[in-house]
Subunit: 251 residues, 2 copies
């Protein structure tokens, strides 16, 4: 049984107040791939933030003294540094050209996930949604209302990693699926118990979606993943994927 990763094409430039669930549902219908029960809808965080009006016009930002200091040290725009610091609960690493923070949600990433790409208006940036799990849940509920389809929703962002070069897409918000598939206690093909096997399926789904999303020239900010039998969950959230620093054995 194959899995399909379907780009959602023809979405307009998302504006504050836009109904993303409605736009994605309509776009899916238009392109002949209407949403189905069991689909996973993956949305770039930028369009979610934009729909929620969670964008910052840098012309309105007055950098604080710490932001001015850090901007000089890192070589970054002090107004962007100010926005990044407002979104952070801690700084993890600062160096020329580098500002890695722990976001309010707990994600460790460059620039608190504040993204300039794909936002029209020369001086506008989009932070992460304030509560990406809640955003995912709201969009999922709205799809249920509009299309009568039971889907899962993932809000994604592209993060750098420790130990490995390059960035990959990860889940920063999730609703409707177990973000981790816990297979401890299961047995493999030969009867061995799988001792450590907790797969971060929400991150793997986000990575898979990026294969169609990562085409900025085509403007594809959303994808549908069809045919993956995920574990349904009303409670599971992307913030479960945050590993507390004191338990992090990989740093």
């Amino acid at each position: 049984m194959s899995i399909h990763i379907i780009p959602v094409t023809g979405l307009p430039i998302i504006q504050r107040g836009d109904d993303l669930a409605q736009l994605v549902t309509a776009a899916s219908n238009r392109q002949g791939t209407p949403l189905a029960d069991g689909d996973i809808v993956v949305l770039c965080h930028v369009i979610v933030s934009r729909a929620e009006g969670n964008v910052v016009d840098l012309r309105d930002v007055e950098p604080s003294i710490p932001a001015l200091n850090f901007a000089e040290y890192t070589g970054k725009d002090p107004r962007i540094v100010e926005v990044v610091l407002r979104e952070a609960r801690a700084v993890r690493r600062m160096a020329p050209g580098v500002l890695i923070t722990e976001t309010r949600q707990g994600f460790v990433c460059a620039n608190s996930g504040v993204d300039k790409s794909n936002v029209p208006g020369e001086d506008v940036v989009a932070p992460l949604p304030g509560d990406p799990d809640a955003s995912a849940k709201a969009i999922r509920g709205r799809i249920k209302d509009l299309a009568n389809r039971e889907v899962a929703v993932i809000v994604c962002d592209t993060h750098g990693r420790a130990h490995r070069d390059g960035e990959v897409n990860v889940a920063v918000g999730s609703s409707g699926l177990s973000v981790i598939r816990d297979r401890r206690g299961e047995r493999d093909l030969f009867g061995y118990e799988l001792h450590v096997k907790r797969t971060a399926v929400a991150d793997e789904l986000a990575a898979a979606a990026e294969l169609v999303i990562g085409q900025a020239d085509e403007g594809v900010p959303a994808a549908i993943i069809r045919g993956y039998g995920y574990g349904k969950s009303e409670e599971s959230k992307a913030t479960e994927l945050v590993r507390p620093r004191e338990k992090d054995l990989f740093i």
Copy 2:
């Protein structure tokens, strides 16, 4: 244009000397999804190691004194610790229940990627292939010879990560595609230059494949990804994804 992730089903239990390219080609034909130009064939490292005879019978392993010491401290089987240490060029973290190493190839992961799952024979483990990039290249060449198809090949393993809970599939070997898509200098939908955008596509492809591979009860150790327009490369290797420790800003 959708991407399809196709499980390769019906593969036998792989034995030393098996021709993986031939077996995957035949299985793809049997299931009605013959390999096509531009496909990406993703193979679990365990079957590659097994085909190469790169498995270790723990009954033949004499643990060294360091292995005995570390086994006591970590609570692990001293013979497995011995195999793990032989595969490592450095230990990154040791704690009760935990042995994170830097493998000979440079990958930072638990137990040097030595895997007990899915290997028949109670006391047999499979390390990573000695040179997973070379393994991928050989299999790719053999597919070209047998099926006259130009594919890319990725050898994958499941790794834990810093900062995020759960494991994800990553590329440990690769041939035929650029493992990183470097989009610096490209412009997005609104004409912004994408300043930092180096996507680790080989890892995203490995993660996508895991959505069909990660079903141990069904015994699916390989997948075909179809419809992804990767950058062709004869030189690019998975070891490019290793970030040298001194340049690692995320630890």
